[in-house]
Symmetry: C2
Subunit: 479 residues, 2 copies
């Protein structure tokens, strides 16, 4: 009997696998006698015990009949698996869901791809790392691990974390809600996925901002929503442009529009709420980085003006702590609470217990507020450094949409079209500078060159160097 061991895992496992293959492939017919253990051991240069153990296993699994000594035979009946096409040839699944999934992910301009080997990168969403946070978080986790019950978490999140979150948003965002209105989720991305499933049937219309956060757009599209883009100006969503045929859902980033940075004005906020009320739509308020404003104190969230339970308010800890944490929260109107909790349960039973406990403690003992103040200061300096660097090194080439908030700026390149923008990005890459186009954040991108410049992850010094290099690239590619 010809056998080949594939060298993966323990010898016995390899031998069992090889013998099964021989049987299942039909190379060894039913009723045929297996070689005596001693002979096989010699043939394969393995110990006899290994062969004995392997035979034992085959017997237990029903591949082999008979006893050691009296001889062992291939069990009957085993229908050898019919010859089958290789995996590569199998049909891919063709559900509507995966078709939409592929349509998104084959998007040629899918953002977030890091420019490899860049010395400086203005990539958005790269967090700014903070040694103080790292060690504090390590302690918080170690402590939480000792005292968190190992049982399944409550689907809507730990009571302690929901209580801490409700205190936090009341104080920071003017959102008054009870811990019972809060559902802990795996970041904003799970929040939009759950919202789409609960509130939208495939085919339902959802208004998105133009431009918008691409990942929310993709979650809605993949779910099957019909996307209705509404333009943004300096006052945020142009509520006059809301469609006459009302959508089921309206997704907005009022406190710091992504990516333009616009702050939605009060009249627009009231108009939006009024529209949602009259047409019975839901509003998804994504407050992804409302924490960081550099002019006035943060404006109250849309949710705090919502008298009629239309707003699903979402906050994330990915920006203010770090993205790999994967924790965020949703504040739902009472009438949506049960459905959202059930949907979260069906999805993953609930978010990890230890990290929830660590975060609750982190918020309760003031570490979180301290971290926010530190981070705010640092980001303010970095933002000023970026603004100054851009004025100094690229002033005449640029038009800056300053937003007084967050961790990024939107920069337009005067007199360059989209193609020239791509050319600049390609050239900058050759100079080891990572630049990122604004185009992927549009459903229908304008023929105008714009860059999304994240500054969270670079020191003031690095920003100085990077903007200098940026300036050179601008000159070298000037039309």
């Amino acid at each position: 009997m010809h056998l080949e061991l594939d060298g993966r895992g323990p010898l016995q496992t390899q031998l069992v696998r090889a013998l099964k293959d021989a049987v299942l492939s039909g190379r060894v017919a039913q009723g045929v006698r297996f070689p005596p253990t001693r002979a096989l051991a010699q043939q394969l240069a393995v110990s006899r015990n290994t062969v004995l153990a392997a035979y034992e296993q085959l017997r237990a699994e029903g591949f082999m009949q008979g006893r050691v000594g009296s001889g062992s035979y291939v069990a009957t009946p085993i229908t050898p698996a019919a010859p089958v096409p290789r995996p590569a040839q199998r049909g891919l699944p063709e559900t509507d869901y995966v078709r939409r999934l592929r349509a998104c992910h084959d998007h040629p301009r899918m953002p977030g791809r890091r420019v490899e080997g860049a010395r400086y990168s203005f990539q958005y969403g790269v967090p700014f790392t903070n040694p103080l946070l790292t060690s504090a978080w390590s302690r918080a986790l170690a402590h939480a691990a000792l005292y968190t019950p190992p049982t399944y978490p409550t689907a809507h999140g730990s009571p302690a974390l929901r209580a801490a979150a409700s205190e936090y948003i009341a104080h920071r965002r003017g959102v008054i809600c009870s811990p019972e209105d809060i559902i802990i989720v795996a970041g904003t991305q799970q929040a939009i996925s759950l919202t789409a499933r609960v509130l939208l049937d495939p085919g339902d219309a959802a208004v998105i901002e133009e431009p918008q956060y691409f990942a929310s757009r993709e979650a809605l599209y993949t779910h099957g929503a019909r996307l209705v883009p509404v333009a943004i100006d300096r006052e945020g969503l142009r509520t006059d442009d809301l469609p006459s045929e009302p959508p089921r859902l309206i997704c907005v980033t009022p406190s710091h529009q992504f990516p333009t940075g616009a702050l939605m004005s009060l009249p627009r906020r009231l108009a939006l709420l009024d529209y949602a009320n009259r047409h019975d739509c839901w509003i998804f308020e994504d407050d992804y980085d409302g924490e960081f404003r550099y002019d006035a104190q943060p404006h109250a969230a849309l949710r705090s003006l919502d008298e009629s339970g239309r707003v699903v308010y979402v906050g994330s800890f990915s920006k203010v702590l770090f993205p790999s944490l994967r924790l965020g929260y949703v504040v739902v109107p009472p009438c949506l609470r049960d459905d959202f909790i059930s949907a979260k349960w069906v999805d993953d039973f609930g978010s990890p217990g230890i990290e929830q406990a660590a975060l609750a403690q982190f918020m309760a003992d003031g570490s979180f507020e301290r971290h926010l103040r530190r981070t705010g200061k640092t980001l303010k300096q970095r933002r000023e450094a970026l603004l100054e660097g851009l004025r100094t090194h690229g002033g005449e080439f640029l038009e800056i949409d300053d937003s007084h908030a967050g961790m990024h700026l939107l920069v337009w390149l005067r007199g360059r079209d989209a193609a020239q923008g791509e050319a600049l990005i390609a050239h900058a890459a050759t100079r080891a500078l990572g630049l990122y186009s604004i185009a992927p954040y549009y459903l229908n991108a304008p023929d105008r060159a714009g860059l999304l410049m994240g500054f969270g992850a670079m020191s003031v010094a690095e920003i100085g160097e990077a903007t200098k290099l940026f300036g050179e690239c601008l000159r070298e590619t000037a039309p």
Copy 2:
């Protein structure tokens, strides 16, 4: 101007909220003058600076016009929000998804509800807590937190954890795959949710075992799958009963059928694979606790017999470590890989980075194997204690489906119908004993009393006491 502070949060926040309400409710008309700061401070007995700061905020948010000194006025135009119905009166969402969601969750026999105040509970899924594990895990997390990059995780999981998982399942489960075939998910529940979305259009048929794991059933149902139950016997799924009209998906627990404990025989495994091949169906192999067998070594997974890429193999760390961890893995055939990764990305971007790093380390340094051996020994003793206790105290009343594996037994009550079973459970509750019916694990429950008895969380001594009490309850309720 009448104002009432609601006592939530800092005084200034309360004042801002009260003033906004006055404006938005229309109680203060547009153009009306706000009281001078000093007067208002006296009226409310707050410091004048608080009032000044509140006015500042109102001005910034566009509620107020004019300057301190020359007088401040309610901004015009503000369209006061139209009177709106109370949240309670709002229409609930009526998507197909939530209708199905509610149909599941209003299920009167939704299992897992803990019998309150029970001294002993045979509830399934309660993990057995292990101080050694707790402290080891705390150290692993603290260490991982210091060295894990804070950036967004890779959607399909950390390379280190995927490598560790592929080693583990090759060694323990005979599943040979590359780390690239593995996708880290938030436990089995997310695995079935993703599988349903990727592989099933609403309305597609999915075969489930009867009885089955209710949470997988609900995930499939909520997604819109048409559930086709196929009966279980001592050899596992009755493959002869597979429907002539082929389903898209077949969900099985071959290495330890949940809840009957049946071990699927080799001929049945081959028949199932053959059926899936001929009819081009996918197989969801849920190997939720294959680690713990008390007779032979665990049988090779169905996936290890799958020559043609039909099997989605799923393992969980919830049972072998602890449920609040929320980490599991999916081994997908090559042709499904990209779609599953995209689906995971759209759902939540990826699982938490630090816990993945901690687990990878835990597996790489042997702590995990040590834990498995310890746990296996303990569970073996507890299982034997349960079997002995049941024979001693309830022998003549019971029929035990012994499965030589896992953390639970299925026990039938001789000559009692479902109603009598419920009566026993109710009576046991009055004796502070938690018993759990098997009925919720059936799509169509038989009129026969059965109990699912989890033994993972009770010590040998407790199991002795609990079975004694169980015996008394059996006698006290004997028909």
